[in-house]
Symmetry: C2
Amino acid sequence: MAKRRILLFTGNGKGKSTAAFGMLARTLGHGMRARVIQFVKSDDSVGEQKFFSRFSEVDWDQYGRGFLPIDPQSPEMEAHRAAAREGLDAAIAALSSENYDFVLLDELCYALGQNLIAIEPILNALNAADDGKIVVLTGRNAPDELLAVADTVTEMQLVKHGWEQGITAQTGVEN
Amino acid sequence: MAKRRILLFTGNGKGKSTAAFGMLARTLGHGMRARVIQFVKSDDSVGEQKFFSRFSEVDWDQYGRGFLPIDPQSPEMEAHRAAAREGLDAAIAALSSENYDFVLLDELCYALGQNLIAIEPILNALNAADDGKIVVLTGRNAPDELLAVADTVTEMQLVKHGWEQGITAQTGVEN
């Protein structure tokens, strides 16, 4: 059987989540079944979700309340943390489930960096995941523990971004 | 109308083409029509092609004879160049066509770096592309002219790759 793979896309440039979505397409091309768990993100009108939600082989859920930082003392923070904890439970379940060949934990690094969830349960679940499972983790500022557990890591470095040229977020490009 | 966008994914890490495929999925989610032109690549059994070829909104062609370098004096080189020239013609046609909202020129930088095609015709076609068109270019060692014409550039830096740990190419991950 194929080895368990853990791929990590981090850095401050564009392409982390989109690379993960490309890998999702690749695995679907091989008839695999996929679980997508999005931390932090809460906009379900984006193109990737509209597209991949069409496929019965994909179970896609968002466990976020939007990007941070908001004031950590704000009462809203508890809703962010509660959503991320639900995502964590879903992630642990997916990593040990025989129903999925591919598991994407989108914006996991961001959720960890904002202390929405603890890292130990995820590390344990990653280390316990079976051979044959393909796992993709994304988000900026990946912690060292995730760099260590991944077999393949790419840092997406921002060289140039449209918003620096006054280009606003655009359908099909940024969402 | 939305601006013309040109995005470039370069660098030596994993995720350049896969990010482009993720963007393709995103645009399909918004009902856009897409043209995929692959330079250099010649393997049509990969997951991404199997997957996206299912959709009538996607026209996908490979114009390659495999990765280089082979001996530049080898008689095979002319077949590589001829294939890339066909890809160049297809790219120019796609960039000026009203039939496509999204145009992916996969491994363009690699084809340019190996001198399979000249850069001027592509630059002219990119500069002439209409507002509303989303163009994605990929490949390592992007030339300065492409960095200049793109509005968004990410360098995918290799931090760690599975093959360093003795992991061989795996279905759903590398192909």
